[in-house]
């Protein structure tokens, strides 16, 4: 791209930024508030968990694991918001990247079981012994090494997103079509992982984990540790995304969201920008999945179901797309509501979730974050 085109671009970019102008001042402050709240939450929960049982502020171990799970969901929501809220790609397949990250972590945890499985085979996980397999499939090699696993957690979802995105963005598949093929992608993966021949435990998935890096996954301290790790991961993800969105790349992304053809005609390589952010988003989703699996103790093909991906989209929609903290808020809020509803009125949860979908899309197109911002701007006006 020549410098000349860059100059002409500025005008358009100004325009794109203009629409977001009232936001940018608030965004700085919003970010800061969010980061401080998150840090306070992590430290607060850690301290309260160590209080004696029965204390008014005591946070139970169950609650810690639950919150840890929510935090991984929040990371996933940030990933979806990055591509939907800022790039305009509605992915209905992000659960696939989440689940892939989860499976990679699951494979490592399976290898860590060693000979403590039901069949006591030091090399093969139980389900392979059960299927009369004699040796580990080639794609399981290396997963006993944590560093390799950690790399794969990012690489596997990232690679899939790269291949998929390279084809899709190059041929300018967008809008509804892109949403539908992402859905098909996760659906195809779900069907594939249900097959026993795949070597990922089929229907039952991977479970019965024991330890991670030598720490017993069933001990309360390790659970607290995983919660803190999830919180830190969320914090870092948030900072990374925020940094990218403030950079030139982020501004181009927003321009693509608002006027894709215009951005392309000006001379930006729209497909490359899309691909870069899509791959990044998939890696973040994979990281979320990897943190999720040791906390819930199981990963199975159900995680790939298209329904899960759509649910993530709803968290983001409810929280407010186009704002990172909105996505986090949505993920935490909806999941808390889900836990509460399924405990109190199990029948009513789907009604409530369904209504939330409808009401939010009809009445709150910018979600809770939009509502907050609206309040603030009216206050400022009066």
């Amino acid at each position: 791209m020549t410098t000349k085109t860059v100059e002409t671009v500025e005008a358009v970019k100004e325009e794109a930024v203009e629409t977001a102008a009232p936001r940018s001042a608030g965004r700085q402050r919003g970010s800061l508030v969010f980061i401080l709240t998150l840090i306070a939450l992590i430290i607060g929960v850690s301290i309260c968990n160590k209080l004696p049982e029965g204390h008014a502020l005591y946070v139970s171990n169950y609650m810690v694991t639950l919150l840890g799970k929510y935090l991984t969901y929040a990371i996933l929501a940030v990933a979806v918001d990055l591509v939907w809220g800022y790039l305009g790609i509605l992915s209905l397949g992000h659960a696939a990247f989440f689940a892939l990250g989860g499976y990679v972590m699951g494979m490592h945890l399976m290898r860590q079981i060693g000979d403590r499985g039901v069949y006591g085979n030091p090399d093969l996980p139980d389900f392979m012994v059960f299927l009369n397999w004699t040796e580990l499939p080639w794609y399981w090699t290396g997963f006993d090494n944590f560093a390799f696993t950690a790399l794969m957690i990012l690489l596997v979802p990232g690679l899939l997103a790269y291949v998929f995105g390279w084809f899709a963005f190059r041929s300018r598949v967008n809008g509804v079509y892109l949403s539908i093929i992402t859905q098909a992608l996760t659906y195809a993966l779900m069907l594939a992982f249900f097959r026993n021949e795949m070597g990922f435990g089929g229907n039952n998935g991977l479970t019965d984990f024991r330890e991670l890096l030598g720490f017993d996954l069933r001990s309360n301290d390790v659970r607290l540790g995983l919660f803190i790790a999830s919180g830190v991961a969320l914090l870092l993800t948030y900072l990374l995304c925020d940094m990218i969105l403030r950079s030139r790349l982020g501004k181009v992304a927003v321009a693509i969201r608002d006027a894709e053809n215009r951005t392309r005609f000006i001379g930006y390589r729209v497909d490359r920008v899309k691909l870069a952010l899509f791959v990044l988003s998939a890696m973040i989703a994979g990281l979320a999945g990897a943190l999720y699996v040791p906390q819930v103790g199981i990963i199975n093909p159900g995680e790939f179901s298209p329904l899960n991906s759509i649910e993530v989209v709803v968290w983001v929609a409810i929280g407010g797309r186009g704002t990172l903290y909105g996505a986090v808020l949505g993920a935490l809020g909806v999941n808390y509501a889900k836990t509460w509803f399924t405990g109190a009125f199990p029948e009513a949860w789907l009604f409530a979730l369904g209504l939330l979908f409808v009401v939010v899309t009809l009445l709150l197109p910018r979600g809770i974050a939009g509502l907050l911002r609206y309040k603030r701007s009216t206050q400022a006006a009066s």
Binding site: F167, I181, F194
Partner: protein, 527 residues
């Protein structure tokens, strides 16, 4: 004891029917050829119950009651036999096992009885019985005398039975000593693809003493194998079309709402499910008339889901036009609500939907190729729905207005088309078609709250593959995907075939983002 038996054997055996007394005595007391002759005599009487009597001898249901020297029908009831007279007119009480003796049936008698029974069936008035009798003789054609066969061939009027007789004739010829006759047999066997005929020809190809016959048989083996492969392919195509018709039915309503209106209706699967529940509800209302209730449930489902569709359009979708991704979310919410409604008010379990009689059954084209009626009906039904819909859009005032609104809304409004009313009706139409598809699906799969979810991804794929806004595209893409799935299934397995089709579709959309038959023109860019 011995003397008792002797007296029994010497006495006149009574059957209770005079004309049978003689033959039965001969059968019980006689030896070797006498006994077969006795059986021939019984068969020659041509009584109404001859077949039953012969079966009785063969199966041991007819026994000799020693005390009275009578032939009786005996059935074991606990430790005793209950006895009936031979014409089943009188109950003769019961007696212990040892008071009755079985009629002696040796292997040669048994096979003689079988061929007698078979040739009796050959002359039956009922063509179905004649067919059964011929089938029984297929493995042992030598039991049928040549004269009888010639006579039967001359007198038979039923086409199917005649064809069967020719097949039997060919089998007889195939084991003849004359090589010319055997060659002639091959000519007939060539067209017969049943397993027994093929193995017979294979046997001839391998073992016939006459080289020319052997050579001819070998040729026939190859031709038959070719035909069998051909019909196997035809069957795959039929299964593919059948799967395709299901896909088209599920997708065609979506093609209306998505293609014509640009609305992503994620609740489409749930509307299909509700249609299937309509079929179930109608069956609950009229449990004794399955066929009628199924036919009635088609309009009922159309109206019911159509009204729900109009309601959804009026309350939700109308506020979201031009924002396809948001309609996607809102309708997904609706789909969750509809699912939960069914779970709460009906059941979270599957409900049973019975197939009426005309839906179950098989249409047999030949011995290696047959079509199941329910799939045939659904294929036909799918085509009927498709062409009705096509002509509705093409030839009616309503269709004209739908097309006008979808092409240029403001111009249509300027011409006096009430576009918001058309929107409601179009969406209702799409929903109604989904309901009809549900009725059809209720005949093929389990009806439960999750029925719709299973079809939603597939239906979107069909619409996208075919090209949005093009009904013909939907038909062709549905059928293509169905056939592709079934072609891959034998070597890849059902699930892998589905995955491969999905991957193919993902690749295809990259190449042609607007489907097989894209809409052309300026309206496209606005989307």
């Amino acid at each position: 004891m011995c003397s008792l038996l002797a007296t029994a054997a010497n006495a006149e055996v009574k059957s209770g029917i005079d004309e049978l007394d003689g033959p039965f005595t001969q059968f019980v007391e006689g030896k070797g050829a006498d006994r077969t002759k006795a059986l021939d005599a019984i068969a020659a009487l041509e009584r109404n119950d001859t077949r039953e009597v012969l079966d009785g001898i063969l199966n041991g249901d007819l026994m000799l009651h020693k005390a009275t020297d009578t032939i009786v029908w005996a059935s074991l009831d606990g430790r005793k036999y209950t006895m009936q007279s031979l014409d089943r007119s009188k109950d003769l009480g019961s007696d212990t096992k040892r008071k009755l003796s079985r009629l002696k049936v040796t292997n040669s008698i048994r096979s003689h009885l079988r061929s007698l029974i078979a040739s009796l069936g050959l002359r039956s008035d009922n063509p179905v019985q004649r067919l059964a009798a011929i089938d029984a003789l297929m493995e042992t054609p030598e039991q049928l005398p040549d004269e009888t066969l010639t006579e039967l061939l001359g007198s038979e009027s039923d086409k199917k039975v005649l064809a069967s007789l020719h097949a039997l004739e060919a089998r007889k010829q195939a084991i003849s000593d004359n090589p010319a006759t055997r060659l002639q047999a091959l000519e007939t066997l060539k067209t017969d693809l049943s397993g027994s005929s093929r193995s017979l020809v294979q046997q001839m190809a391998a073992t016939d003493v006459e080289p020319s016959v052997q050579e001819a048989a070998a040729k026939v083996v190859i031709r038959q194998a070719e035909k069998v492969t051909f019909f196997a392919r035809l069957e795959t195509v039929f299964f593919g079309l059948s799967l395709g018709s299901v896909l088209v039915l599920a997708a065609i309503g979506l093609a209306i709402s998505f293609g014509v209106m640009g609305v992503i209706n994620m609740a489409h699967g749930e509307l299909i499910m509700l249609g299937a529940y309509c079929a179930w509800a109608m069956q609950q209302l009229m449990p004794n008339a399955l066929g009628v209730s199924l036919l009635l449930s088609i309009p009922v489902a159309f109206l019911f889901t159509g009204l729900i569709g109009i309601f959804i359009e009026r309350t939700v979708i109308r506020f979201l036009y031009g924002r396809p991704l948001e309609t996607l979310l809102a309708t997904f919410g609706i789909s969750l609500i509809l699912q939960q409604l069914v779970r709460t008010f009906i059941s979270s379990q599957n409900v049973p939907v019975a197939n009426p009689e005309f839906m179950s059954g098989v249409v047999e084209i030949n011995s290696v190729f047959s079509l199941t009626s329910n799939r045939l009906y659904i294929l036909a039904f799918c085509l009927v729905v498709f062409f009705l819909l096509l002509s509705l859009l093409r030839y009616t005032r309503f269709g004209l207005e739908v097309r006008a609104v979808s092409q240029n809304r403001s111009m249509a409004r300027a011409m006096g088309v009430r576009s918001s009313r058309i929107d409601s009706l179009t969406f209702g139409l799409g929903a109604g078609i989904a309901g009809i598809a549900g009725v059809a699906l209720s005949q093929l799969t389990n009806v439960g709250p999750n029925l719709g979810q299973a079809y939603i991804v597939d239906s979107f794929m069909v619409v996208v593959f075919g090209g949005v806004g093009n009904l013909w595209g939907t038909l062709i893409s549905g059928m293509t995907l169905g056939i592709a799935n079934k072609i891959m299934e034998p070597w890849a397995g059902a699930i892998l075939a589905k995955i491969l089709v999905l991957i193919f579709l993902i690749m295809f959309i990259q190449k042609r983002p607007r489907g097989l038959f894209p809409q052309r023109g300026r309206a496209v860019e606005a989307g």
